[in-house]
């Protein structure tokens, strides 16, 4: 087992050395391959996020010729990103989406990224592993479905990816216990308060796990604790595939074609195989032929693209003859409770992700619901803090006073595992976007188990703050993360792809992103998405996929 501090650099990924210590942008773009549009590439990847870039990097090293299409820009953090909450807007996917159901999910900055690096450019940085139980919740707890693979199929992938990000944190006692390559970061006063409050309630917390460098790692600088993880890391200390995998991918012949919106995966009706992808660049339609296509657009855009790709064989959308595309989309119940203390907390300092607990992760029948939740510290900047205040109905003088009081507050959040439900789904709306493509409509409603989980988790947070003798609290009900929508499974009737990520009925179409998750656990999804891409690449290398 890997021991903290006994750390070796990743063996098959030179990305940290291909970056520059003093400039944040990629250094090898002048060497990037450019494939002709008449040339059929080995693999066309849609979406340059956690799944797509990791997959491309792995296969490029095996000699595959790969193009990645990405809707947004290829970022240079020095030039394109700012140390400002409102100014981070461009890194969020803010094209319109219609939201509905009894519990609609706010999109945009909360859960959707755009541009090379995907949502990981603005994720907080928490990278916990899924637990072994997450893969068999039907067998263990009688809810949802089992995955067609187990934790042990992914364990080696988790370990490889943790070395590449790299992950900093204390030895992890929950799930499959393990160490992390970098030692835990020091914690700020605000997080220490949460730690103490939890301890007084008998709740164990641990520092991390976060994908933020805490030591020497190639040319990636150490974290400077400036607190803007959610606005894009201008330091290159927090991991995203833009810096953890793309530099190496480019070095091995991957072309990333930015500002290119895929609008249809084209099918050859005669052979039943996909032939390539039609995309829009600079207002013009282009077609890139490919031997295989991997859709890595995440839980909203992957289903939307497949649903928009109709043909004689698939009149209701590609790979959708069982009406599974777009179903079982999940978010996590992410209620947050803020607490007020006499001393100054100054939440704006240090990374928002600091300490967390998975003590409530597994099912405990005495709580009256299946599955559980994790607890993590978060640190809203002023605009996000205003959302906490207005969530309790304050405006005018009361808004201003709670805002002035911000530096006395610290915040805990939970991630409650919500159940996959067929009607929580992405469909195509009547409204069209700037590419002439129907916008996604996302309907979301909670079930009774979801509500019981969120209510219990909220009570635990309130107990922690009560134990810490908080003077006042503010609660906001919200949701975080997006997974599902093209789930993997054991039969074509109940899933979109098989255990090797291949679409049922389309031999050269793969889905390699968070949309394949059959259940979501109570862990942040970035690590498992990268791990799945790593495993899938291994399967292809071993020719376990035809």
């Amino acid at each position: 087992m890997l021991k903290t501090g006994s750390f070796a650099m990743p063996e098959a990924n030179d990305s940290p050395f291909l970056l520059d210590m003093h400039e944040r942008g990629l250094q090898n773009l002048d060497r990037m391959a450019r494939y002709d549009e008449k040339e059929t590439v080995d693999l066309l990847v849609i979406g340059a996020g956690a799944g797509g870039v990791t997959l491309a990097q792995r296969l490029a090293r095996k000699g595959w010729r790969i193009v990645i299409l990405e809707k947004g820009p290829l970022w240079d953090p020095d030039r394109d990103w700012v140390s400002d909450e409102k100014g981070a807007g461009p890194i969020y996917w803010t094209d319109n989406r219609i939201i509905g159901g009894t519990d609609p999910i706010q999109m945009g900055k909360n859960n959707s990224g755009v541009g090379v690096g995907g949502s990981m450019t603005h994720f907080a940085g928490y990278v916990p592993r899924f637990h072994p139980s997450d893969f068999e919740v039907r067998s263990r707890d009688g809810v949802a479905v089992d995955w067609p693979i187990s934790y042990w199929d992914l364990k080696a992938s988790f370990e490889r990816v943790e070395r590449e990000l790299p992950v900093a944190g204390q030895r992890w006692p929950w799930g499959d216990p393990h160490d992390y390559p970098h030692k835990p970061h020091p914690i700020a006063g605000a997080a220490a308060k949460a730690w103490q409050g939890a301890k007084d309630c008998g709740i164990e917390m641990r520092v991390g796990p976060v994908s933020i460098t805490n030591g020497v790692f190639g040319n990636r600088p150490h974290c400077i604790y400036r607190g803007f993880c959610l606005q894009g890391c201008k330091v290159n200390a927090k991991a995203s595939p833009l810096i953890t995998h793309l530099p190496d991918a480019i070095e091995h012949g991957v072309e990333v074609r930015a500002d290119s919106m895929a609008i249809r995966v084209e099918l050859d009706d005669a052979s039943g195989r996909v032939s390539g992808v039609t995309y829009v660049h600079d207002g013009q339609e282009h077609f890139q032929p490919a031997d295989a296509v991997a859709v890595c657009g995440y839980a909203i855009e992957t289903p939307r693209l497949l649903l928009n790709s109709t043909s004689r064989r698939f009149p209701h959308g590609l790979a959708n003859n069982s009406d599974q595309v777009g179903r079982y989309v999940m978010v996590q119940g992410a209620t947050q409770v803020a607490a007020r203390f006499p001393e100054l907390m100054r939440m704006y300092k240090a990374p928002p992700p600091e300490v967390s607990s998975e003590q409530f992760y597994e099912t405990d029948e005495s709580r009256g619901f299946a599955r559980g939740f994790s607890i993590q510290t978060v640190s809203p900047l002023p605009i996000a803090w205003a959302e906490h205040v207005t969530a309790e109905g304050h405006w005018g003088l009361a808004l201003r006073e709670y805002m002035r009081d911000w530096n006395h507050w610290t915040v805990l959040g939970v991630l409650c595992e919500l159940m996959p439900q067929p009607e929580n789904r992405v469909t195509l709306a009547d409204q069209k976007d700037q590419f002439g493509m129907p916008v996604a409509s996302f309907s979301h409603s909670l079930c009774d188990n979801d509500k019981a989980n969120i209510a219990y988790a909220t009570k635990v947070m309130q107990e922690i703050w009560s134990g810490a003798e908080a003077q006042d609290t503010l609660k906001i009900d919200r949701y975080a993360h997006l997974v599902g929508g093209c789930r993997m499974g054991s039969t074509p009737e109940e899933s979109v792809v098989d255990s090797s990520h291949r679409a049922w009925d389309v031999p050269n179409l793969f889905v390699v992103d968070g949309s394949v998750l059959p259940t979501e656990g109570a862990a942040n999804p970035a690590l498992v998405i990268m791990a799945l891409a790593d495993r899938f690449a291994t399967l292809l290398e071993e020719k376990n996929v035809a």
């Binding site: 400002d84 400036r226 959302e387 006073e401 002035r404």
Partner: protein, 242 residues
């Protein structure tokens, strides 16, 4: 206990009167009151990276002109934004100008409720609705209502208790959540608001070494110091300042 260590001033315990707050001595805050009278985040601009500095300083110095809202909508919605943010005096953060810019540039937040129109249409409808309420009181515009009348209308908007006319065309509670989000984003993106709440602002490339962990001490020398007394003279003396 020092006045801001206890929690008696919090709105959950009663009404806090901002006229009791220290007056700002350095830099600007909206209405010149705040908790950090000697802190000006704009005095730190030399420590910010060029891209961020240009954006944030530009936000203060180049207030965008009205391009989305019309002549009738502007006074109505300015009064509404001031009411939402309790801006009853100069200096004011020009909230509506930033809202106008966001709507004009169609720089939305990435979602639209199934039972709501676009954000642009929502804002226009809110302006019409507010003026409808003024008409019920025999006045031409929400902007000419006196403060307690405006407050009463906004209170009913908050409670989802506005009916008929413009209000009947959408879900009033969702409309409230949308306009509140736009207003808070505009207000708390502004450095004058950061002065008021003691936010460190942009922190690249400087970062923080003193972030409260026990082994590293409490705060950077330049960070906002909270007033120790609501009385400016007492505060100055107790902090050992001139």
């Amino acid at each position: 206990m020092k006045p801001f260590q206890d929690a008696e001033h919090l709105p959950s315990r009663g009404t806090w009167d901002p006229s009791q707050l220290p007056r700002q001595r350095k830099g600007k805050t909206p209405q010149m009151h705040g908790r950090y009278p000697d802190y000006d985040v704009l005095a730190e601009v030399d420590h910010w990276d060029d891209v961020t500095r240009k954006l944030v300083v530009g936000r203060v110095e180049n207030v965008p002109p009205y391009r989305f809202f019309g002549e009738r909508e502007v006074p109505t919605l300015e009064a509404f934004c001031d009411c939402l943010t309790a801006q009853d005096d100069e200096p004011r953060i020009p909230v509506l100008a930033y809202v106008d810019e966001k709507l004009f540039e169609n720089d939305g937040d990435g979602y639209q409720y199934f039972d709501m129109p676009t954000d642009q249409e929502t804002w226009r409808t809110v302006a019409r609705g507010l003026d409808d309420e003024a008409a019920k009181l025999g006045r031409d515009s929400f902007a000419v209502l006196v403060a307690h009348e405006q407050h009463e209308v906004v209170h009913r908007f908050d409670q989802g208790e506005l009916y008929g006319g413009a209000w009947a065309t959408f879900n009033v509670s969702r409309a409230w959540s949308i306009v509140v989000r736009y207003v808070c984003e505009a207000f708390y993106a502004h450095p004058w608001a950061w002065n008021e709440i003691g936010f460190g602002g942009p922190a690249y490339p400087r970062g923080y070494a003193a972030f409260g962990s026990p082994q590293l001490g409490e705060e950077e020398h330049w960070e906002a110091k909270e007033a120790v007394d609501v009385d400016a003279m007492q505060d100055t003396q107790r902090k050992g300042l001139d």
